[in-house]
Subunit: 366 residues, 2 copies
């Protein structure tokens, strides 16, 4: 496997520290860690989790579930509402593994319920404030309707309620994350109290990287499903989920040109490598932070430098002072991505410092 | 080849009309059409161009040049400044095809010049106002330095000057595009006049989809290199380059849920499918327009509906009135992407209405 430029470099010790950190937190809080594998989409990265005792995982699509089942993962939750077109593939996959699916409303459930013949676990998605999908956690009538529908089919096993507190991604400090986390836990605890007598094994499935990174408290929750934490990124750093030293993935890219007079560096690193995900830092749109490449890893990000513009293959770094004046064409930089999940999806593979390749679910089978 | 959902659907007759339109325009203006293949990155789409007489192409990376050379394209310009790491691959490729490379500054040129041993054509990138890379078109001293350096190596053939008027993408109407186009042509004409005596065959290579779509006038230009026009997209429509009926590519995706009370539709169509490219329409961030899927093609976009939010796998359509109240989970919609180049890069393959697959340069060999 030859590495083209640019390529994604993994810092495996950092990945493992990130996994160990979250596994320890889950153990202390007595919740199951069922990590979301959509961040890395990679069988090889999955093996790092296995080393840390993980046996149950989360994915976001049916092809992703098939891909990881093929690598021996036999307890998988698809935390994305099912569409009826996928029902037959759910039936096939459920023959060989413990599979949980998710429904987000009575309509979404009814569209597929009659096409599922195999034994599958079923989660109902509830909305605790994100406002994207799921039944509002206090809408007892709709939830009861769904629970009863699920109960009417003997092959469907009602597992419990699942939520993604995705509004944590809009938070811009730890305090804000803590506040919405407390509100989420409180809504979930009410839900659990309401149903626990009828379903003593009910699962409350929760978690996104910001809340799971920042809080140690998960009262009433059965399992957490963060994903991004294995790599972290600039967005998570901005939210307060991680230090920049915990970011475990960087895009290694060559300098094309240095425009010292304009305090700009042109890179071969574009939207097809980093994605166009952006965060505002000090009022400026940032597509990535800039580190020196150090062979097997990278330096702390350089202060007063960031990627401020991306086109398909070009990236432009803007800097102040003379911090990058020494660069010349062909020098390699390491960019910390704004959103590591999307950078991985863009690149399709990653490499560790020994040059081993970490493949990603191929686009052609998604 | 099974089509997963979502998938990219090509309207081949529209692609061919778009190609024919630009080929005719180039013929009338007596300029060579050397289309940029970074938009589709697909050997199969390339064959559509061959049907319309295209024999010379543009690409944005060395792997992309190798990929198209493998499909029989034997006259290729890499319109991205070379980095020294690619020099040996340039030497290999130049053994079998007519290959042109681009340098963006004396420093960029000097970093690679001694590593190139094969006969290659060389373009100097000039900046006519985009402000990304290239030597300002009026910097005669730097341009002369580069021309002389190129002339000092007997295997390097100075071809001429190349520019990308990428600031046309910031234009928001045809008049603004026309204005910067005229300014670009004027700068290029001066450059041509200055060098034509010494280099009677000098090539002035120009072109981006907005200017090439909107103008019919290319005085002083030898060749145009638009790429996006084969598919067009919502961004081009906003600039004024095309009608929405010319957009030749759409993402076919299933409805997950309809929140009629909130006038929202949840789709399985996320940032990994459409990219996070966004345009502002009436002050609202738009990630795609929404059409009805009609089996082999799609309807005109539905007024008062657009994709207003994207996460990794979810898309949210916001609409007004009751225009989408009739949808139900599992229904298919066709989304017109904001930026077709990035949607193609995200998806990795396309399909025509007969179900034939149009593969894209694999991520693993880029």
């Amino acid at each position: 496997m030859t590495k083209n430029l640019p390529y994604l470099l993994l810092d495996i010790p950092k990945c493992e520290q990130n996994i160990a950190f979250m596994a320890l937190k889950a153990a202390k809080a007595k919740v199951l860690l069922r990590p979301h594998f959509k961040t890395h989409q990679s069988k090889a990265v999955g093996e790092l989790f296995r080393k840390h005792g993980i046996t149950q995982i989360t994915v976001s699509s049916v092809p992703m579930a098939e891909y990881f089942a093929d690598a021996g993962w036999n307890d998988i939750t698809i935390a994305f509402p099912l569409v009826p077109q996928m029902a037959q593939r759910i039936n096939s996959l459920a023959k060989s593994i413990a599979l949980n699916v998710t429904f987000s409303s009575p309509q979404n459930l009814m569209a597929s319920i009659d096409s599922i013949d195999e034994r599958v676990g079923v989660f109902i998605e509830v909305d605790v404030g994100h406002g994207r999908s799921g039944v509002p956690a206090d809408n007892t009538r709709e939830l009861a309707l769904m629970v009863n529908l699920i109960g009417s089919k003997s092959n469907l096993v009602f597992k419990g309620f699942l939520t993604h507190a995705g509004h944590s991604y809009s938070a811009r400090d730890r305090e804000e994350v803590e506040k919405l986390h407390t509100s989420s836990l409180s809504q979930l605890a009410k839900l659990r109290s309401f149903w626990i007598d009828q379903y003593p094994n009910i699962v409350i499935s929760y978690g996104d990287t910001p809340t799971c990174s920042i809080s140690d408290e998960f009262w009433g929750v059965s399992e957490i499903r963060p994903g991004n934490f294995v790599f972290y990124d600039v967005m998570q750093n901005q939210i307060g989920s991680c230090n920049l030293s915990q970011v475990a993935l960087a895009l290694i890219c060559p300098v094309v040109d240095v425009l010292a007079g304009k305090q700009k560096v042109i890179l071969h690193a574009g939207a097809v490598h980093l994605s166009k995900e952006r965060v505002d830092i000090d009022g400026i749109g940032c597509y990535g932070l800039v580190s020196r490449f150090e062979g097997s890893t990278w330096s702390e990000p350089i202060a007063n430098a960031m990627v401020t513009s991306l086109s398909q293959e070009h990236g432009v770094v803007t800097y102040s002072g003379n911090v990058l004046d020494d660069l010349k064409p062909g020098d390699l930089l390491a960019l910390l991505p704004v959103h590591s999940c999307l950078a991985v999806d863009c690149m399709g593979q990653m490499f560790d410092s020994q040059g081993n390749v970490y493949d990603v679910l191929p686009k052609s089978i998604r």
